[in-house]
Symmetry: C2
Subunit: 201 residues, 2 copies
DNA sequence: CTTGACACATACCAACCGGTATGTATGATC
DNA sequence: GATCATACATACCGGTTGGTATGTGTCAAG
């Protein structure tokens, strides 16, 4: 009856991606299961076969969609780098030169969910915090290698600095989303890059 | 029949404050008018007498609750200062020494609404952006005075720097909200203060 | 060939949502 | 003292929500 007969993991993936898009636009609480199902062409039977409830779907989106995205975009470029500042500035420059239109209009999916769900649901907060701390951890480790290699000023405290860098980046994205101007986005990233300069030895 | 017989502006104020609290906790879209009315002890008749619809209530909260709060907390300390960096660092120190528990658990009301509503509703985005740009404007003006007074490094571009400062601050608050630790909040504010040091001449 | 688990589709439900229509007590105006 | 707008309260409504119960076709195992 169906075009692609019985491909459960593909169905699950379609649900995850549609849910991600809907959540990215409207947030989790305002995300409509009906809309998600309309986008996929599936029905509630499929959804509730793969996920026990809406919350589980949201948590799965964090773990199976957002986490890999973030790992590819933000974690990978910093892995094993001995010059973390240069690597991050290259990353920022890439983001500034060809800004993802989705990011400027809809913001960072991780940050969006953190702002919305952290005060509301503890399970969400813990899952999001795990991902966030992974990010901070990656930056911290990179900064430590930079300290060893001599790129980073010896006065820099890797943990606090990494937390601030990620926070400032999320802040820049968030404010630019509200302004909805790529110019503001570029300017803010430029200032962040300028801040990274002050960490050099 | 009522305790305080016919006090329309007081009633309106109670609605605004209850709406602010509900929105601060759950966001605008998830904010329930029923909850707001239950908190105030009022009914829908009162609500829809003072506000045409939910959206108008939300916009009024921004203008009549959040804007004055922000003006008192963030704008006033920077008004007419010739040493903006010192003033902002004093502000941050005050926030770090006795952090508002509501801010760490629920975040900045302005930022919460920006993240949630900017992509969803244009009227909200414009109103929020107006408030946000007022904030950036205050910081920009302060930095310009600092340039004249010699406190601020001549290489500093006031507008871009102000945008970044506000963004970084909102980022710090947002990330700390997710972490729900005052220690992280303090650390992030400390790094922001450290960044402000690099702007000195 | 039968059986049974899997992978969905369909139909349905109670709860809640924002919003409205109507009723009513109060206070000022003339 | 009658009139009338104001300031609410009460009752109700259609739509949407997340969730469930049941039906059905497919496929693999025995």
């Amino acid at each position: 009856m169906n075009a692609s007969i019985k491909t459960p993991d593909l169905t699950r993936q379609k649900l995850l991606e549609a849910a991600f898009a809907e959540i990215h636009r409207n947030g989790f609480q305002a995300a409509s299961l009906t809309h998600i199902l309309a986008d996929t062409g599936l029905t509630k039977g499929a959804l509730y076969h793969h996920f026990p409830d809406k919350k589980a779907l949201g948590l799965a989106v964090i773990e199976e969609v957002i986490r890999p995205q973030l790992a590819a975009m933000m974690f990978a470029p910093l892995a094993d780098t001995q010059q973390p500042l240069a690597a991050m500035q290259a990353l920022l420059k890439g983001k500034a030169s060809e800004p993802d239109p989705w990011v400027v209009t809809l913001g960072c999916p991780l940050n969006n969910l953190m702002q919305e769900m952290s005060p509301v649901d503890e399970a969400f907060r813990l899952q999001l915090n795990s991902l966030f701390e992974a990010w901070v951890g990656v930056v911290t480790a990179a900064l430590k290698r930079g300290l060893k290699s001599g790129e980073v000023n010896a006065a820099v405290k890797p943990g606090d600095t990494a937390f601030f860098i990620v926070s400032a980046l999320e802040g820049c994205i968030g404010m630019s989303k509200n302004t909805q101007s790529v110019a503001a986005y570029r300017g803010c990233l430029g200032q962040l890059s300028h801040y990274l300069d002050t960490l050099k030895s």
